[in-house]
Amino acid sequence: MASTYEKIATNTLSSAQSSITFSSIPSTYTDLVLISNAAVSSGAAQMLCRLNSDTGSNYSFTRLGGDGSTTESSRASSVSYMQITWFGYLTTTINQAGIANFMNYSNSTTNKTVLTRSNNAGNGVGSNVNLWRSTSAINTILLYPDASTFATGSTFTLYGIKAA
């Protein structure tokens, strides 16, 4: 059987950037997986995401996180972004590791659900389930921090998984 887990694109920042974009994503896979190892230039931030340049209030998420002493669950509805990180947020040290699963991303029948895990050993861990209320196939993923900029050395890699 052929290997079915393939790298589509990778981006290692050589300078601070306010956002990164994966565009022209082929529709030939079943799921997409985004792996990040990132930091921000100052302070702390959550990593947010928009799909297909949609800036409307078409996103929502439910999240679960913990920081060693507290567990928490909350949600946001009808917002203009998805949230990739939660308790495993971005700081100025590249010790954040995250994975986001864009499930059945290329179908044009259902809304899209994105499962994420975020880990930051200095802060905590989190899981989010995000909804994009659109039936469009995902062809562009925009990532950006809600404060500061992505720091030099941050890495973002997008993979495709193909089902039989």
Binding site: M1, A2, S3, T4, Y5, E6, K7, T30, D31, V33, I35, S60, F61, T62, R63, L64, G65, G66, T71, E72, S73, S74, R75, S77, S78, A97, I99, N101, M103, N104, N107, T109, T110, N111, T113, L115, R117, N119, S127, N128, V129, N130, L131, R133, T135, Y159, I161, K162, A163, A164
Partner: protein
């Protein structure tokens, strides 16, 4: 051809050329069970990735996993989940199947699916009980659940069949997709 999901999701070193598609299925709209049978024992681990919604009149549905068609009380599960308001944890023993995470039923907003990633470690072993890890949930723009769960199957048999069953005895919709992958160890 880099990486594999179970490794990637745990942030371990990536392994190349080791993640393969075994089979996939789509809901029929008339059955609440998806069966992957005759699973070869040639991999080290299995992963199931699915988007699912059932015909249940309720807005919520759950994924049930049964191994080798064993319907006896050989399953245990633990879970941690968040419903958007609070986090909670639970355990149950003596179950007749493994209990997975929440997806959507027909009572949820149209076209909204739940998703799950299910890892089964060392599934072909014949000298240890089997552990399943679930990560999944659904968001319905005002409702939903995110959760992680572990299931223990008190049986040392190699797994050759997996049934993915609707907890509410409803039918998986035709928009539901289920894919089984094998992960090689060497």
């Amino acid at each position: 051809m880099p990486i594999l999901g179970i490794i990637a999701s745990q942030d371990y070193t990536r392994i190349t050329s080791s993640y393969e598609s075994i089979a996939s299925a789509t809901g029929t709209g008339s059955s609440g069970t998806i069966t992957f049978s005759s699973i070869p024992a040639t991999y080290s681990h299995l992963q199931i990735r699915c988007t699912a919604r059932s015909s249940s009149v309720l807005s919520t549905e759950y994924i049930i996993i049964r191994l080798n068609n064993d319907t006896t009380a050989n399953y245990i599960y633990h879970g941690v989940e968040g419903n958007g308001t609070a986090a909670s944890a639970f355990v149950s023993t003596g179950e007749t199947a493994g209990f997975g995470t929440e997806v959507t039923g027909a009572g949820a907003t149209s076209n909204v699916m739940g998703t799950a990633i299910i890892d089964i470690s060392d599934y072909a072993s014949t000298n240890k009980n089997k552990t399943i890890r679930h990560f999944g949930g659904d968001d319905t723009n005002g409702g939903g659940l995110i959760g992680i769960r572990s299931n223990l199957w008190l049986n040392t048999s190699a797994i050759n069949r997996i049934d993915i069953i609707s907890y509410r005895a409803a039918n998986w919709t035709t928009t539901s997709t289920f894919a089984l992958y094998g992960i090689r160890g060497s």
